[in-house]
Amino acid sequence: MSAVILLEVNLVDKNGAASVLRLCDRPIRPFAPNDTERPNAQFDDRLLEPPSIRRSLFADLSTLSADAGFGDFSASNADGGLDYLQSSAFGKITVWRWTAGAFSTAQQILIGQAAAPVWQIDADGKQALLVPLTDLRGAFDRPLQDNLYAGTNANAADIEGKEGGIKGRPKPLAFGDLSKAHIPGVLVNDTGYIWQLHDGQINGSEAVSERGDLASGLIDDGDLSSSVFDSTTPVAAHYQMDLARGLFKHGGAPGPSLGFDFLGDAASSYSDKLAGIAKKILQKAGVSAGDISADFATAEAAATAKAGLWISDAVSVIAALDFVARGDLAAVLPDRAGVWRWVELKAAGGAGHTIDFDEIISLEADDDEMQIPVWDVEVLYARNYQVLTGDNVAPTIRATTREEFISKDWRLARKFVQTTKDRWPGARSLRIESALIDEADALALAARLLALFGPRSDGTPKQVLRVVREQSSAALTVDLGQSVRVKFPPASIDRDFTLIEEEVLRPDASKLTWRLFG
């Protein structure tokens, strides 16, 4: 027999009691009493449409933006056998592919989060349960920062802002190298002259500018403990730091438009590498260490490009991850087992998986904008978080490179291939914002983008293929971002592609749908 699809849904009933609904797509005997993971567990064979989630490296490859994967499953309720679940909330959904033996031999192929179930009722038809689901990114379409200012300031040492002021605003988050970022900070006490740069420990190395001028003359009284920071006030033209809380206190009334350059989050460790920052964001979002793969540490160790990110408003977790990862042409997403991965989008090639002609059930070229070659790439880098122009700029830096820096929010690194534009007048331009801070790194990223989205080395434009193939154990060893060689003689295809999207158990339980680019 072919593989059995096993599904478990975590449920919570109206009284708060937790339980697990177990479903499968063909009858199986309950697991053995001595099964280490599911002793005597029964799976009810009433799955109609097995669950699937469309997982993509990028929702929109032209902007390298990500989104959660979506899907659903349905189960027969023709006999009303599931009606007892109508008052239950559906939670985590896990799906395995199993053939025989102990439950531990089952191959996990999907993990997701259920949305509100739909109880399909039709007086003339059969009743069914339809459960929409998202991958784990679905739960991360929420602000990264859930720690908000309470607005309870009563004296000059308080740091929660005031009613009618910053109350309810998220506390700022600073990651990586912000030593050129000209951060405005958040004024959390306007009588004690306290600014917050980060909600937590920062690495320091701060520099303070007034109206853009770094030679502000302010004297650093050093990093103080939180209790000393709260109980002391620097004299005029001095300042003191509380790195543990990311706080800055100015002695006396400050000049206009303070700007802060510093190194960000240093809770447990400091990182100015993209993968390291992404890992910190995942940790901040509540992902446990065991659910973060070693990819992040590997990519961080291999990286040379520096990056920084400051968030002062309600940016979603997905958007923050997306912004950071695109600086390395990568995506951050959970794998089939729910472990978060750092996946670089590379040009296809090298040893990889092969789909032979006789393994392809259907193949079609996707009509996708990605197939139009890119001739021009602009990478925005070294963001200035506080733009100052005109009279807001200190006279001492006018007509200098410093003024040029603080008067624009982004720097621009550009790479283009004119011959591509000449050959394809409709060739695309690409412009992306990045967390990179150095021009050389931004230019390198532009070059990688140009190579990836430009024409192939033989001068032909790249393609996006949608392939339906048998869902086998071998196929499930291939994950997003990996190289796949496709052999399809009727269309003269025998080349490497990169797997950019997969949908397991679609169009049906024995098949797998892939989107490939290359």
């Binding site: 499968c24 009858p27 009810d44 002609f357 006789d358 059930i361 048998e470």
Partner: protein, 286 residues
Amino acid sequence: MKGKLANINLAEGAGFSNGTWAAALPLSNLTDLRMWGAPARCEDPTDLAKSKLDVTLTRSAAVSMVAILYHNLSINAKVRITLAGSAGFASPANSPVWESIWPRMFPSTSLPWRTSSWWTGRPDLSDIDLYPRHLWLPFDDALLANQIRIEIDDTGNPDGFIDLGFLFVAETFSPQWNFDFGRSLSLSNRDLIDETPSGRRIINQRAARRVHSLDYSNLSNAEVMRIFDMGKHNGSAKPILFIPDQDDRPNLYREAFPASLIDLPGAGFGLATLNATTLKLEEILA
């Protein structure tokens, strides 16, 4: 031997007791229509005190067959059935004996010499496992009983546990005149087949469904109405048992299976004993 039909399960609503059965898979599962997926399970078949059960019917009834469906009893398993009335198991209605559940099926002389089962005339596991395992325990005559004790000796079960998928206690019914010649047994292919552009067929294998089709043309009014009642009573949900020939042991495991009526039988009326009906019995696979 005439074909036997049974559509009313006397075990429905019965009380179950005795033995030691898994809390997660209790004896009440014996009447759960999910036969394969929701069995009653004895986790320790090495202790005969644990692998037995008592069934207390809702009323005294004439019992002519006990069927245990979708079990995992091994080739060496034995079973002992005791029927009892109000006097209790101390005064059984039958003569209980331990019976091998896979007794001799073939005369040794009909088997090639050196066949592994030449001496025993029993089937190989590879033969049996083509089909789900069912146990048919008929009685020569219907016996009035309201209690049934089922004892199982399968201490060497290779799974290490015993699963009993479904219990069917029946008073079987055989019309005076058997079904017509021309009865058919077929397999309904449920595989999902895709053909790739290369011509290769990729097949999602699923268990094939056995289908019996048979006609009765010589039924009395009472007989045809009894079969008509089957459709009303069972619909498509409740299982029906049909055993074409209880004595044809070599083919019993191929031909006898729990079935559903997807097309409900009608009644065609003719002369006194020339009433007719058609049965199409589709195997229950779950």
